[in-house]
Each structure stands twice: as C-alpha cells, then as structure tokens.
C-alpha cells in the first residue's frame, strides 16, 4: 500500500465494509435490549384499546424475538427502518432529523477546532504559567460539566442574558421556503434569505456552543501535549532560525505536526458529540435525531418507539465509524510518512 489515490480508494472501501458487521452487531444489541425492556408491552401501552390496534400490537410482539428481528432485518434490507408502536413510520423522521443533527455536530466541531486548538497552542506556549492554568480551568470545567446541566444552564440563564434564542431552528416555523437539506442555515442560504440565515445562526449558536464546550477539553489537551512534544524539536528551531515570527513557527511548523494526534482524537470524540445531542437537542428543542431518540426510548412520557431507537443507534454507529474514517484520511494527509492501509 502506498499513498496514491487508488490506495486511498481501497482503504476507504475496506473501512466501509467494516460497517456491515458493526451494523449487524449494533442492531442485534439494541433490538434485544429494547424488546426485553418492557414486559407485556401491548397491555401497558394500549390498556384501553381494543380491536385492530391491540391485535396488531399483539401480532408484532407475540412472536419469538429472533423472528421479530428477522422481520426487522428484511424490512431494513428494503430501506424501511420500521414503524413506531403508535403506527408512525420511522423513515421520514430519520431522513429529516439526520441533517439537523449533522448541522449541530458540525457546528460544535467547528467551534472545538477554531477555539479548542488555538487554546491548546497558547497553553503549550505558556506551559506552567498563568495562561496555561487559565486554559486548563476552562477546558476542565467544560469536561466536568454533565451535558444535561450545561444545556439547561445555557438555555435558562445564558440565553436570556445573551439575548439568544434557545428553542428550535427558526423563530417562525415553518420558514417561508422549501427545506431542501433540513440543515437550517444551509436551507436559509440556499433560499437566499439572509434574515433567516442570521436567525438560524443565532438559534444554532447556543446548542452548538454547549456541545463544543463540553467536548472541547480533549482537543485542547491533546493539542497542548503534542505541541509540548514538538516545540523542543530541531525543526522548530530551524524554523525559528529562518527568521519566521513566533506566530508562523507555532501555527505553520509546530502545529502542523501536533495536529496529527489531535485529528485522531477528534475522530474519537464524534461519539461523545453524538451522544451529547440526545440531551442538548431535547433541551433546545432541536428537531434532530437526538431529540427523536429521546422520545423513542419513552422520554417525556412518550410511547416507546423501538424501531426508532434502533434506527437512531444504528445511525450514530455509522456516524462514529465515518468520523473515524475521515480522521484517518486526514491523518494521512497531514503526515506524509503515513501509508493508507
């Protein structure tokens, strides 16, 4: 294996093939656990119903678990993610929710990169001095904050104080344009509607900031420690001896090499970010699959939605695998010594 584009294609193909066993494993686990969670579900969920609804439910749940899973898999193979226990199909919810969640996660990742990484560089440059300690206090307080607490504090106290909205994607829903992508900012931009774009950005800011703040520690900390490894090396000295200013020495020569570790770790944090969306989306009423997952497992007194929960977990699993794949590709681009294999 080498570094030509065809090697990259083979590498990506191999890694995507790994998705198949991952998906089978993850659906088996979530399917079994959701279906074991409730005893005699039909009587619990529809105590006062008779006739068709109850009969349908009893038909669904009356069979052995492996038969139920087999039926689920065969419908999945046809691209059908199933039907909720209340009879609502899962597909449209996932199709509309994934872009919204993706938008939130990407915005959080963006904040983590543009704030967390420079903070790590600053901490490494001033290692042991007050700026370093200040940065450490900042990222540790984020790391130590439980997601629900951070989200609730931001929504209740910070939002009015900063004058930022804390509910939904737009102030007025539905917006007066077609939602092509279901990413609020992108849709508003595609429609050329600048007031709505600004409105969407305002709505996006707080949930993304909460997600970023809570997960930022890992980016800052990895950047700091790998910068501390890189800074004493000779090539940083030779960059200085070229007459480059400290800014370029740090951000062009040292950070480029330090980022190699940070990128890998950012790929791993994708799991944390996705998990965080479940709480953050519910608190900020963000119409993504995190909020959908919250209701699917019976949050807020909703009727559980087993197929929906399995679907969300499967989507999250795909998200984590793809995020790690992207991180590995970036790793190869950042470090010319790495072969794609």
């Amino acid at each position: 294996m080498g570094r030509s584009p065809s090697d990259l294609a083979v590498f990506v193909g191999k890694r995507l093939l790994q998705l198949v066993p991952v998906l089978i494993g993850i659906t088996v686990l979530t399917f079994v656990f959701t279906h074991l969670s409730t005893v005699n579900p039909c009587n619990q969920w529809f105590p006062h119903s008779h006739g068709a609804v109850l009969a349908n439910c009893q038909h669904m749940f009356g069979q052995p678990l492996y038969v139920q899973y087999g039926e689920y898999l065969s419908s999945l193979a046809h691209g059908n993610l199933g039907v909720s226990e209340a009879g609502i199909p899962v597909n449209p919810a996932i199709v509309n929710g994934v872009p919204a969640t993706l938008e939130l996660v990407l915005a959080a990742l963006f904040l983590m990169i543009v704030i967390g990484i420079p903070l790590g560089v600053i901490a490494a440059q001033s290692a042991g001095r007050w700026a370093d300690h200040l940065v450490r206090v900042f990222y540790l307080s984020g790391w130590a904050t439980p997601t629900y607490l951070g989200a609730v504090i931001a929504a209740i106290y910070l939002a009015p104080y900063l004058g930022l909205p804390a509910h939904g994607e737009y102030t007025n829903t539905p917006p007066p344009f077609r939602q092509w992508t279901h990413m609020s900012v992108v849709d508003a931009l595609l429609a050329g509607n600048l007031p709505y774009t600004a409105d969407a950005l305002e709505h996006l800011f707080l949930p993304a900031a909460v997600l970023a703040f809570i997960n930022m520690g890992i980016a800052t900390r990895m950047t700091r420690s790998s910068m501390l490894e890189v800074i004493p090396l000779d090539y940083v000295k030779s960059a200085r001896m070229k007459g480059l200013t400290e800014f370029w020495v740090m951000y062009k020569h040292a950070l480029r090499n330090a980022l190699i570790t940070t990128t890998t770790v950012l790929g791993v944090t994708a799991g944390g970010l996705l998990a965080g969306t479940v709480v953050v989306e519910e608190v900020f009423d963000w119409p993504g699959i995190g909020q959908y997952a919250y209701y699917a497992i019976g949050g807020g007194g909703a009727t559980p939605n087993f197929d929906g929960a399995v679907a969300v977990v499967a989507v999250f699993a795909v998200g984590v695998v793809v995020a790690n794949l992207i991180a590995d590709i970036l790793y190869g681009i950042l470090d010319p010594r790495v072969d794609w294999r």
């Binding site: 570094r3 200085r240 001896m241 070229k242 007459g243 010319p336 010594r337």
Partner: protein
C-alpha cells in the same frame, strides 16, 4: 573590532533546574572576524552547543538564563533585544545548521516548501520589508562551479504521486523565480537532479541529503553569520566525509563568516581559520588553527590533541585525559581544569586564571587561560 561578524563579550549562561544552577557557559569572550571560520571544540557537555544556540537567542529562557555579557552583532547587543524582535535578526542575519539532519527539517513539508520559505523571507527583507535592515551580506559566487551535468535518467521525475502532489506542483509553478532560486541552492550543495528532490518529503531523503538540504536552506538566506552546530556529528563516517568536503568547498565559494562547533579536532583542523577550545563552560584557549595545533598553550588543549586519533595506523594505545569532566553545578574552585592537570600547583586551586591573555612567546592572536602557559610547551 568593528569588522567582526559577531563578538561575544564575557558571556555567562546558567541553566536553572529546580534548585540547582548549572553554569553551562562562564565568562566566554570571542570574536568571529568577518569572512573567517572560527571553530569551537570541546568535550560533550562543555557548553559549546549552549554557546551556539545562545547567540541567536534560541535557548529556551527559562530554564536558560543569560547572566551577564554582551553578544554584539552588527552593532546590536543581542542580549538586550526582546525575544519578539529576534526573528528579524535570524535567517538573513544569523543562520544555523543543526546537528541532527533527521530532525532539523520539518517532516510535514516538502523540500521545496521549506527552502522556498527561506528564500521568500530573504527576498522580503531585501525588498526592504523588514524591521531590521542588516548590512548587505557578502556576495555569493556560484560562477566558479557550473551546475553539474545531469543525465537524462536522473532528471526524469520519479516523484511518487501523492494525494496532494498535483496541487503542490501547481502552487510551485506560480512562483517560477522562487523555484529557480531554490534549484540554484540545491545545485550549490551538489545535489544532482534537484528537480526531483524538490518534490520529496524529508523522510524520503538520506541523512546526507537532508544535511545538504539543511545547508542549502541556511545559505539561501545569505546570512551574515552562519553557525554550524556539529553539522557532521550525527552522520555516518563516509557521509561525514562527503558533507565535510562540501562544507570546505562552500566555505571557499561563499566566503561568509562561520562559527563552526564540533567535538572533532580533525573536522576543525580542515575547516577553521581560528580555533577556540572550551572546557567546563570556559573558553580556555583561542588562536590561529595551525599555531594552536603546533604549540598549544593550555595543558587541556595539549591533552586533547594527544588523545585524538590522527593516523590510520596506531602507535601504541590512545592516550586519554585522567579524571572526569567536572559537575557544572559545582565547578571546582580556581582553574576548572586543575583536578586533571599535570602541572597544577596550589595557585591553580585558589585562583581562576586570568581570562585569555596573550601567551608568552606565542604568535599574535594566540591567547590562553593558564597560569603557567609558558610551561605547556615542555609537557610531553
């Protein structure tokens, strides 16, 4: 005094580590006359690398602290220059070649990008876009040695198609003048087929090639002073010889002022005009190379010369200096060499020798720091 490329006056550097204080460099004064090559030799840990890195203020401060002294470069005392202003003096003013060619090139950038960056910085400064405007550096002369003839097989690009290769090449074609100059410097350091080398990453080059690239990078800034910090020590013996030959030829061609640090007397003998000997943080002898080799005026220099293998055939066991290098956190009182010195007397224990006096009967410019410099000649 004014025609010195750099003059170091009474420089002392300490490392403060925990509660301890290591006197890495104590009261060193030396001068590199413009256009001269000054060598510094000494054992490992004698402070020569610290001195080399202190001149362009490359030492991490803390733990290093410059206690006293002046480093005068182009009329400016570098010790007093705030660190954030130093970049303007580095590169075109003072440039440096490091010991480890494996580590001194950035692994993430192609050879071209690193060289072009250096050339670009110099061009910016030549165009007057610099805070400090150094005097025009000594002129470079490539004319003496025409570019080597390159066979067709060598000039054929053998670059592996990297994912970003096409883009990098496109960027390169946008600055043909930078590219031409980079190629000139690669030819200057006798790299055949520089067109191919441009596209490679440092890890794709051998150690000797990397050091050549490093030398090209340092020279491409046309520095007023070049510091070579053991440029051949980390290489194989055969490659060492090649790089050393190259350095010697370049010194002839480029005529810049060079401070050449080494622990290898043979290397220094072949390259330097003047030689300084350091021991335990002090400069103990300084003089023209030939004279210093013929008639050393310090017992340590004498012992050092005797203990270095000079011929391929051996006549008896190699002599060594008895005792060990002193601990620099508590250097011995008086002369730092006295515990190992064959001619030490009570005064050596009590009083440090006067700093670098002209030795009796020695030629001009030959100075040593020994109470009994005149007796050294009679030592075996």
């Amino acid at each position: 005094m004014t025609d010195a490329a750099i003059s170091v006056e009474g420089l002392s550097i300490d490392y403060v580590v925990g509660a301890g204080r290591f006197h890495a460099v104590t009261d060193v004064s030396l001068e590199v006359p413009a256009g001269h090559v000054v060598g510094i030799v000494g054992e490992t840990g004698c402070g020569k690398s610290t001195l080399a890195q202190a001149i362009p203020r490359l030492l991490p401060e803390p733990p290093a602290t410059i206690g006293s002294g002046r480093i005068v470069f182009q009329g400016i005392d570098l010790v007093k220059v705030p660190l954030w202003k130093m970049p303007a003096l580095r590169g075109t003013g003072i440039s440096m070649i490091f010991q480890e060619p494996l580590n001194s090139l950035n692994p993430a950038y192609r050879v071209y990008d690193q060289l072009a960056e250096a050339v670009h910085i110099r061009r910016q400064r030549e165009a007057g876009r610099s805070r400090v405007d150094p005097r025009p550096p000594p002129p470079f002369d490539y004319s003496r040695r025409p570019a080597p003839e390159v066979g067709e097989a060598l000039s054929r690009p053998i670059v592996p198609a990297g994912a970003t290769g096409a883009l990098a090449r496109k960027m390169r074609e946008r600055h043909p003048e930078l590219r031409d100059e980079v190629l000139d410097y690669l030819r200057l350091v006798r790299i055949n087929d520089p067109e191919t080398i441009l596209e490679l990453y440092p890890h794709e080059l051998s150690g000797g090639m990397r050091q050549r690239v490093m030398i090209a990078m340092a020279l491409s800034e046309k520095p007023a002073l070049l510091i070579a910090d053991e440029p051949t020590s980390a290489l194989d013996v055969t490659i060492q010889a090649q790089v050393l030959t190259l350095m010697k030829e370049l010194i002839e061609e480029v005529r810049t002022s060079i401070l050449f640090i080494s622990h290898d007397l043979g290397v220094i003998a072949e390259t330097a005009d003047e030689l300084g000997v350091m021991y335990a943080g002090r400069l103990i002898e300084f003089g023209p190379v030939a004279e210093l080799f013929d008639a050393p005026r310090h017992p340590y220099t004498k012992a050092l010369l005797r203990s270095s293998p000079t011929r391929y055939k051996s006549d008896g066991p190699l002599s060594s200096i008895p005792g060990a290098v002193p601990n620099l956190s508590r250097p011995p009182p008086g002369c730092r060499f006295h515990p190992r010195c064959p001619i030490a007397r009570p005064v050596c224990r009590a009083e440090p020798p006067p700093a670098l006096l002209p030795a009796d009967g020695a030629g001009p410019g030959h100075r040593s720091a020994c109470h009994f410099a005149a007796e050294v000649a009679s030592l075996p």
